[in-house]
Structures are given as structure tokens and as C-alpha cells.
Symmetry: D2
Amino acid sequence: MVQLTLIQIDNYGPWTVDPKPRPETDIQSLQASLYADLCGLFGGHLSLLFYSRFDNMLAVTNGMTESDHSLIQESISNRYPVTVSMGIGSSDKPSTAVQKATNALHSAGSAQDSTRKEELVINNLESNSEIQVAHFDANDATNLFTDELDAFEAMIRIESAYYELMQYLWTQHDSLSFFVGGDNIISVTPGLDMGVYSQVVEHILNEVGVELKVGVGSSQIPRDAGVRAKLGLERCRETGDTVVNYD
Amino acid sequence: MVQLTLIQIDNYGPWTVDPKPRPETDIQSLQASLYADLCGLFGGHLSLLFYSRFDNMLAVTNGMTESDHSLIQESISNRYPVTVSMGIGSSDKPSTAVQKATNALHSAGSAQDSTRKEELVINNLESNSEIQVAHFDANDATNLFTDELDAFEAMIRIESAYYELMQYLWTQHDSLSFFVGGDNIISVTPGLDMGVYSQVVEHILNEVGVELKVGVGSSQIPRDAGVRAKLGLERCRETGDTVVNYD
Amino acid sequence: MVQLTLIQIDNYGPWTVDPKPRPETDIQSLQASLYADLCGLFGGHLSLLFYSRFDNMLAVTNGMTESDHSLIQESISNRYPVTVSMGIGSSDKPSTAVQKATNALHSAGSAQDSTRKEELVINNLESNSEIQVAHFDANDATNLFTDELDAFEAMIRIESAYYELMQYLWTQHDSLSFFVGGDNIISVTPGLDMGVYSQVVEHILNEVGVELKVGVGSSQIPRDAGVRAKLGLERCRETGDTVVNYD
Amino acid sequence: MVQLTLIQIDNYGPWTVDPKPRPETDIQSLQASLYADLCGLFGGHLSLLFYSRFDNMLAVTNGMTESDHSLIQESISNRYPVTVSMGIGSSDKPSTAVQKATNALHSAGSAQDSTRKEELVINNLESNSEIQVAHFDANDATNLFTDELDAFEAMIRIESAYYELMQYLWTQHDSLSFFVGGDNIISVTPGLDMGVYSQVVEHILNEVGVELKVGVGSSQIPRDAGVRAKLGLERCRETGDTVVNYD
């Protein structure tokens, strides 16, 4: 079972234009600071966090308690001009966990409900299950994209691989995929076989022409699953394999 | 003419796995801090900055000089474990400006060249031209997506609109589009007519079923063009118009 | 027993002038970011942290384990151009705990030893003891200082109270005192009687003419001891008392 | 003439206890982030900034305009839960400049006036005068203090030198001195002779037994004056001189 936390900025849309539209650069800086801080705070509890849409972030938080979450909420509200509400859900399938987390949060009110503030709603918690994380990157991305194409074309190529992978893993394998910078994509998966990963990599190559490789890691601790996935990816680099399950 | 700056972390790929793979959460936090800081530093010069792929960022920097850029490079190198190189180019078409900026940077070496460090290569600068910025968002996104779908589905819907818009404006109108959080996309355009925007919005609706609206702003100062675009979007909200050119 | 952690930037002096003196504003920004981040990371474990000399910080860390500390070290080294070493010591007297923590760190080498890097040396840990924290501020500081004197004179007045208090509590009561901004000073004490605090406040008034008040809080959790001390200070404000032990 | 800007958090005292006392670690983190950010933002305009009391900061801002300041205010208000007001004054004597800046700010209301918000009051601006900056540090501080004493004693020794220096330069030479971390103190001075610095260093040695050395730099650009002072200090290190005027 994977435990997912949905973090949502309270009443954020209205805030960004109150009393008048705030310059986008300031808003981006605020969002990025919040994301950086939450990476640190959730990371301090060995969790993984993804920026998703920035005003809605998703974290893999197996082992984190209610009070761990509420302490983070309090810290944010003391240091930022906005507050965050959170919903938590757990399931064998990441896609179901995110539904449960979302439903929990929805039960506390709308994202633009001016009275909803710092809510923390828990559907169910999970702490002793193995989680599987897959870390993808594009083969030879520096040579093929960064050093070869202009910066926007390179971004489009990576984005196309991300977009296809995200949809495919979601619809076919109940997995959540997140772009994490460069040519890196991390997926939270329900324990897929290595054969599935081979087939996924082939699918992306056929659809958008980008060759991926992937390291897979498992652990009861989200951070460790992520680190093992990266070690798997390193092994791909050394051996030339497309898929490595790091045991 | 729009002046674009490409900011690239030097030799970043190797750094992230040296001496061993660094935990992703730390890397994300580093990237987000750098992005937040650069928003502040470029914003202090009335520029706009977009995270692009995080290790490659793009900024609209009309009016910023060589020394403005090198001061930012120095500040980053004094506070971060990484350095950044930059290329600058200007053109009537944003797509050409990014090519020039990329070529400038490429002339200083590969992104994974261990000897390339804090290079600043200028193709050409521009300071007295009007820039056009368009700010898109999704109609009724909170009701239709955030409060209705689960958090990952909502992200996919917004991502699909972004992906389609980014490609379409790039291939058809030489424009650069960037997701900036929530349901917001900002495009740097070569001065398009309002009719074009109407047609773009219709295209996105037909292709992916997401209804966008857009505010358009122009100024010689990037920040002001962005603020005017947001004011245009506010006017859309008030009037129900799909496209507003804020004059 | 109070558990104290000494956090020291490795080989920092040489770094600040290598290859040439780095602008002070960048160094201050680096130090302040590190301090802000460490507040967040230690705060996430319910600890208190003080900037001390910025390149040497002190934290009250009862209940934090070795791995809690090493995770923070790793995170810092992945996001900053510097690394930190730490020493940990515990004792009934804060002054003895800081000696033990310092000795532990000294055993790993000099602050300017270029080979000492990310050391973590533990003398002894402590988790189940009550800690006492005292939170002082100056009576009516806004009226008497901030709104009345010029900004530098006001700073000197607060500084004089801090300097006297810090020395007095150190030499007479084995306590560690830290300026935390505004007119606030926090002391980590070995469980002093309220009569002692009354006498301390009187001493400061006689010596430097600044009237302090103080809230005192105790808990096995550093954060809670600090919050209780602040609640004590609030009660002083309401009742006009000079010393309040918040039970 | 030196131009000084006083930056004051609006209505900060009440905010820190509203609706209940906020944990000190969060407040410290907020203050440190604000300080780090302002270092970056003022530093981007080649100014120097000092944390002073954190809720009141002082900056040397020769050459910065009204709009440079108001842009920073706007950025802070968009990213922090607090706003800042500013007063600006210029004079040949730093001590007079800080008075003028303070008076300007006082004219807009009290620090705890709940209606005062984001005020910017200018007494007078200055852009083409040479400023003198002195950078002091303690001789052999790592050996004598950091590696020899415990961390708190070392802090007290440095603090005693700072306290004496700050008072002496203020009362005798109209100068403003600020601790900037480690064993470093920066003074903004009205163009003192090198003989005066020799005498100041001797005074500190006699009074508190700490041997200082000092580099002195001048420029019309605050940042450059600061860098030159540091280069002077480096030269002290090489030559063994106590005072070096870096020309």
C-alpha cells in the first residue's frame, strides 16, 4: 500500500488577484519556495514530494503520521502568505490512493472556499508496506537534445516523452508519473514486473521517438525506494540495459 | 524584438550522481530554490523567468545588460553547489531568439563539458522593443477539475491543454509557452493578432476539450507586459470574453 | 539533561576567500539561507536552533537521533556549496552540554582542516529529560526604542541588554542565551527557580537600564518548552508580572 | 554622502502572537528567509544589507532609486505573510543618515500601527558620493577561539569585540558597525583616516583583549567598497599589517 498526501494551497486563485493581479514572477517565486521548503520538510521524514501543478502537490508519505503533517501545515502558515490543506489516502494502487486523498480533501470544502483553511483530512494511513518507485530518463539526452536542439525544442521533446508516459502508466498501470527536471521522470507504481517496464519503454519509443531507460527500486521507506531506483538507473548506464530492478 | 536568456546549470548531470546518486528530493529542492532565487533576481530587473526543464531555464530579459547577467551568475556561484552558464539572443520571433541564445551557449561548450563554467555568451541584446505576452488559463478550472476530478486526473487535463498549446503556438506562431502553475500558461509571442488567439483557443477546445481564455499585454518592459496580460485575463473573467487585449 | 548539537561549516573561512574574496552580501545570503533551512529541518524534529555566529550554530535537540542528524547533513551537502560537521553532547547544565558537543567536534579536527568533512561525533544523546527554556523581551520596546530612538541606537540598546544577559546567565547560571530578533532573547537553562529570574531581570535593569520580562516553560520536547515560554511571556503582558512560569 | 535605507516589518510584534504565539523556530526561519532574500534583492542593485535586529534591517543603498525600493516592497508583500515599510536618508555621517532614515519612517507611523503598511518615505537620495567601508576580523580566530574554546565561549569572545567596537565607532566616529557572521564585523564610516583605525584596533585590544585587523575600501558603489575592504583584509593576512587601505 502506498500512502499519498495531496497538498493544496487554500483559496489560492482568488489570492493571486487580490486586491489586484500579482506579478507572475512573484507568484512563481512563492510557489517555487513553497515547493523547495516542502521538499525539505517532507524529505526530513523520508518522503518524496512532487510539484504536480504547484498549487496542488503530491507526496508519497508512508510512515508519516497525522502530527507530522500538521506540524508542516503550521510551519507553512507561519512563514507564507498562504495556508495549505491536506488529504491523505492509502491503497495498493497509487491511482486509488490519490482518489482517496482527493476525496478526503474534497470533504473539507472547495479549493476556493474562503472558509476552508489548514484542513487535514485522513482517509487511511499506511506505514509497513513496500513501495515501488521507477526512475526514467532519456538515453543520451545531452547529446541528442540539450547540445543539439535549441532549448525550447529540447524541452518539447522531453515534454512529449513525459506526456505520453504519464498518460500510459496512468491508464494502463494505475501509476502516477512526475517530471522532476532535466530529462527525469519518476513514477510511483503498484509493483510492476520488469517485463512491463520493457514494454512501456518500447511504447514510448514507438509513439514519440524518445528512448528511455528505467531503474526500479522498492522499500518501505519512500526515500529509499527512490534512491534504489536511481541506483538502478546508474546500473543501466553502466551495463547498457534498458530496465534494471535494483535489489 | 524579444531578448531571451538561456540559463543552463554547468555539468549538472554528472554532478547529480557524483560521487553517488543524490536523493531526488534534495535535487528537487536545490532546483526549486535556484528557480525561486532566479525569479527574484531576474524579477528585480523587471524580467520574466520560466523553469522550462529546471536545469535549463528561459528568461525574457529585454533591457538587461551583460553586467546584470554576470552579477547574477556570480551570486549563484557563491551560494549554490553548482554554477550556471548563459546565452543571450534577440529576434522579432521568440523561436528565433531562443535559437540564437542556444547557439551562443553551445559555442561555449557542451552542457556536460567539465571545463565549461559560468560562461556568458551574447549574440545580441535588445532594449527598446515592445514585447507581447499572452496569459492563458482554463475556464472554471476549480469547479471542473480541482474540485471534481482527483488530483492526478486534474493534472493530466491541465497538462494536456499545456502540451497541445505549447506545440501549436511553437509550430504555427513561433511562440514559446510555459506552464507556470495551477491552470496558467504564459506565452511569449511575436505580436499576434487577437483573431489568432481566438482561433488558438478554439483549436485547443477541439483537440483536448479544455476551454481556455487569454489576456494579452504589450510593453517594452517584460514584467509590465506580463502584468498587462494578467489584467487582460481579469477582464475576461469580468466580461466573459475569451480574448482581451489589455491596452 | 539537555542535548545540544553544535553545527559547524567545514573549512568555511578559506572557502569565503577562495579563489578570491566573495562579496559579503552573497555570503550573508548563503548563511541566512542555511540558517533558515536548518531552522526548518531541526524544527521538523521539534528542536530549537540558534544562529550563534552563523558559521557555528547551536541547537537544542533532545530526542533527535544520529540518523536524524546525518540526514540533515546529507541534505545540506546536496544543496549548498559547503558542508557541515556536527558534535552532540548532553548534560544537566547547558554550559557543560555545549562543552561536550564542542569537544566531540574538536576530536574530528579543526574548523579549518581541509580534510574534515561532514563529520558527526556524538558524546552522548538524551531523550527523556525535561528542558527549561526562558524567553525574555524588553518592556514596551516599540515605544521606548523602535519608535523613539533612531534604528541604530535602538539596536545598541537591545544589544546591550543581550550582551549583559548572555554573560550573566553564562557565568552565574550555566545558561546559554541567544538573540532571536526584535527585542527577544531565548535562554536554555538548567531549571532555574523563578526567584533567580526576578533577580536576573533586576540585574539587567541596574546594569544597562533596560527593563526585561520573562516567560519560562518546561517540556521534554524542546519546541514545546519554547512555546510554553512564549505563552508565559504573553501572560506577563496581560498581568504585568515580570516573571511567569507557564505550567 | 552615504544613503541608508531602514527596512522595518510592519506591525510585526502583534503578528508574532496573533492569534496565538507562533513557535520561535518558524519566526526565526521567516526572518532569516526575509534577510536572505533582501540580501539578494538589494545585492542585485549593488547595495549592502545588514540584519540589525531582523525586524529592522539597515542597507547602504547609494544609487538605488525610489522605484527600485518599491519594487522590492511589492515582491516581499507577494511572497511573505508580512509587509515592510522603508525610510531613506543620506548624509556625510552614517549616524546622521540613519537618523534621517528613521525620522522619515517614523513620520509614516509607529512600527505597531496597524494601518501603516508598505510605506516608503524618502528624506533624501544620494548617488555620486564615495562611501568608505571597513571590514574587521579577529586575528587567528580559528586557532584562538573556534578550535580552542567551547562554542559558546567563542561566541561570547567575538560578541564582546563586536559590542565594544560597535559602541566605540558609534560614539567616537559616527559609524555604524554590523556583525556579519564568524568573526567578521563591517563598519560604514564617514571616511576615517588609517591612523584612526589603528587606534580603534588598539582600543579594542585593551578593552576586551581581542586583536582585530581591518581592511578599508572606498567606492561610489556600496558593493565595490565592501569588496575592496575585503581585499584590504586579505592583504593584512598576507603582510601582517593591522590596517590596510585598499586603493
